[in-house]
């Protein structure tokens, strides 16, 4: 996983609530293997016409938002399907952090696994950030994981929470599977106990 420490740059306002993973990555792209195609997949049906031409009025098709690295959005961002392609779309486009009042649970976890930082901030602050971004096209923001702060277009900083282990993994770009394998002994002991207490779970079907 790519490490995440600090990202600063252009922030795009998604002034919308309930942007579900079906919008972030339309279902038919779930079969695409991870790679460069994902830059186009993010919010595809909002960004492109049926003939694949760009919709010029969609915000991600406009400068300077083509270079956005941060997104600010309304509540319930990433609800719905478990598709990780929703995160891959953001990554492919270059967005490395999304700020919203709350997120779909599975999307939140999927983001952490891919080095995209989901930042939960109170609704009032998200609204403020959205207003500032809408008022000042191309405004920059900064997301700083070590200090757990977001810096808005006006320079004000806002603290955010993140689970300590998730933070550590992101900062170091830790490989989660390798980390878990260090618990091999504990896993084995658990399995031995379980085979004794609940033997039917291991039985072959009849």
């Amino acid at each position: 996983m790519e490490a995440f420490t600090t990202w600063s740059g252009i922030a795009v306002p998604f002034d919308e609530t309930n942007v579900d993973t079906n919008q972030l990555c339309p279902t038919r792209f779930n079969k695409v293997p991870w790679g460069p195609r994902f830059a186009k997949i993010l919010l595809h049906d909002r960004r492109f016409n049926a003939d694949d031409s760009e919709k010029p009025d969609y915000i991600l098709n406009q400068e300077p938002y083509r270079r956005a690295v941060i997104a600010v959005a309304g509540r319930n961002f990433g609800v719905g399907s478990s598709r990780e392609t929703a995160v891959l779309g953001l990554m492919g486009f270059g967005i490395r952090s999304v700020i919203a009042p709350n997120f779909g649970d599975i999307f939140y976890n999927n983001s952490l696994k891919n080095g995209v930082l989901p930042v939960r901030l109170p609704t009032a602050i998200v609204d403020l950030l959205l207003r500032q971004l809408l008022a000042q096209r191309g405004a920059q923001m900064r997301v700083d994981l070590p200090s757990q702060t977001v810096t808005g277009p006006d320079g004000a900083t806002h603290p955010f929470d993140i689970a300590p282990l998730s933070k550590k993994r992101l900062l170091l770009g830790l490989d989660e599977i390798a980390h878990t394998q260090e618990y091999g002994g504990e896993i084995k002991r658990f399995e031995e106990r379980q085979a004794k207490d609940y033997p039917w779970l291991g039985a072959a079907p009849t």
Partner: protein
């Protein structure tokens, strides 16, 4: 004093680090969409820790057209779709994972065929590479959906890191009225708490209405927990649960059954156990529901009218509703029963079980479909059972199409999809923009309501037709 959730969670802790728990995973369900997981295994040279604890289902991409099914995998015209079906076969063969796939009498949607096999047992932790894995919690276990990276982690280590969710107790008391089903109840729950209402929570459903439900109905309830944002949905196991499980291929037998039963009976939440949040629903007041908008909380009783955004006090809601109505092509204030639909889909892991098929057939019997209407059973075994009961004939005589098992039009992955602007009465679980195909418009409802819409060509209160639920 512990809740059902506490008992299952606590008994699966392998390790704890900071605020995250390494949980043991008893069973992991995957499907054709799990290619990113196998790509990652290949890329990293990882192996599957316990192939006998991973179960694969062919459902998302498999065709449901009986003719296509009889022609075999190689005949799928779209190369990308065919590739997804073939990838699952190759990958499960390579990693020696059991597959319930094309041609297998047990094939079906993972959340329908899995429970039929007896895989979803009380007290276990079950994960699935699909958000509706919450379905399996109907058996009193902790089941939740995970993404592709998490699935890779699970199959490589048989564990998963989780932050402990809070618990939400949803108590549903009272008797369901005529024409009212589990689908209407869960739509009413989501309308009440919102699509974000259960984010961060594991839900336990309880109350007299839940106790009176069959396992199939309980699965419909738990299935849509994710549509309220819930991490999981659970129902305490009881005699209904045990009756369903008895004799299933993966269910314990003989002495092991007695031992299992003794353990399962310890699982229900202790009296007085504390939940993080409580919600009460009066089942007797719920009437048949339909969604009018573009997410599952935007639903109303069929007797109502399409909302007028301008009358909403909250500015954000005005915008949300306005956008939803534009996408759905609806006029504020029109009666829901005035909404004409172009086609009907009866199926999906929410409503494709035998009870659902019977309820739809009972309505289909009352007339003839005036628009294309598909019935897609959730598994091949449900298909066989329905055929044994003569239900397929009722449907075909009434002009409905009877198909093979799979996800089909629920998610439009296998090529079954709506045309832009087409409007569908659907028994599935998501009415997001484009869910059933780009530009498609979805109204969610119960199987009986969907069958009624097929007979009339517009949304209709099934209670007017006199059909049973």
């Amino acid at each position: 004093m512990k809740t059902l959730f506490d008992k299952v969670w606590d008994s699966h802790i392998v390790a704890q680090e900071e605020d995250e728990t390494l949980l043991y995973v008893d069973r992991c369900l995957i499907h054709e969409g799990s290619r990113h997981t196998f790509d990652a295994l290949h890329e990293r040279g990882l192996s599957v820790a316990h192939p006998d604890k991973v179960f694969a289902f062919s459902d998302h991409y498999i065709p449901t057209d009986p003719q296509a099914r009889s022609r075999g995998v190689a005949s799928i015209p779209d190369a990308e779709i065919r590739n997804m079906v073939e990838l699952l076969i190759r990958n499960t063969d390579e990693f020696k994972i059991s597959r319930f796939g094309w041609g297998d009498a047990r094939q079906g949607i993972l959340h329908v065929a899995g429970p039929e096999l007896g895989l979803s047992q009380p007290g276990i932790v079950l994960v699935g590479a699909d958000s509706h894995t919450s379905t399996h919690g109907a058996f009193g276990n902790l089941s939740f959906g995970i993404g592709a990276s998490e699935t890779t982690h699970v199959v490589a280590t048989q564990t998963i890191w989780q932050r402990r969710p809070d618990t939400l107790h949803i108590r549903i008391d009272g008797a369901l009225g005529f024409g009212v089903t589990a689908k209407d109840i869960i739509l009413a729950v989501i309308a009440k708490i919102g699509i974000g209402g259960a984010i961060g929570y594991a839900i336990e459903y309880a109350g007299s209405a839940i106790a009176a439900m069959s396992m199939n109905e309980r699965m419909t309830i738990c299935n849509m927990s994710i549509e309220a944002g819930g991490r999981a949905g659970m129902i305490a196991p009881d005699d209904t649960t045990y009756q369903f499980l008895a004799g299933r291929p993966f269910s314990p037998k003989g002495q092991a059954w007695d031992n299992a039963l003794k353990f399962w009976r310890t699982l229900p939440s202790d009296p007085g156990a504390k939940f993080g949040k409580e919600v009460d629903i009066d089942a007797a007041r719920v009437v048949p529901m339909v969604t009018w908008g573009t997410n599952p909380e935007q639903s109303l009783p069929i007797t109502e009218r399409v909302p007028d955004p301008d009358k909403e006090p909250d500015a954000e809601t005005r915008i949300e509703y306005g956008k939803a109505l534009t996408y759905m092509g609806l006029k504020p204030g029109m009666r829901l029963t005035e909404i004409a639909v172009d086609r009907v889909f009866i199926g999906s892991c929410t409503n494709s079980r035998i009870d659902d098929i019977r309820a739809a057939a009972a309505v289909a019997k009352l007339g003839r479909a005036v628009i294309p209407a598909w019935v897609v059973p959730g598994s091949e075994s449900i298909k066989r059972q329905a055929e044994a009961e003569g239900l397929d004939r009722i449907f075909t005589d009434a002009g409905f199409e009877w198909r093979n098992a799979g996800c089909s039009l629920c998610t439009a992955l296998n090529g079954d999809q709506l045309k832009p602007g087409e409007r569908c009465g659907s028994t599935s679980n998501r009415n997001f923009q484009g869910r059933q195909g780009p530009g498609g418009r979805t109204h969610l409802m119960s199987p009986a309501m969907a069958a009624a819409a097929a007979l009339r060509g517009h949304l209709v209160d099934v209670r007017e037709l006199g059909g049973r639920n």
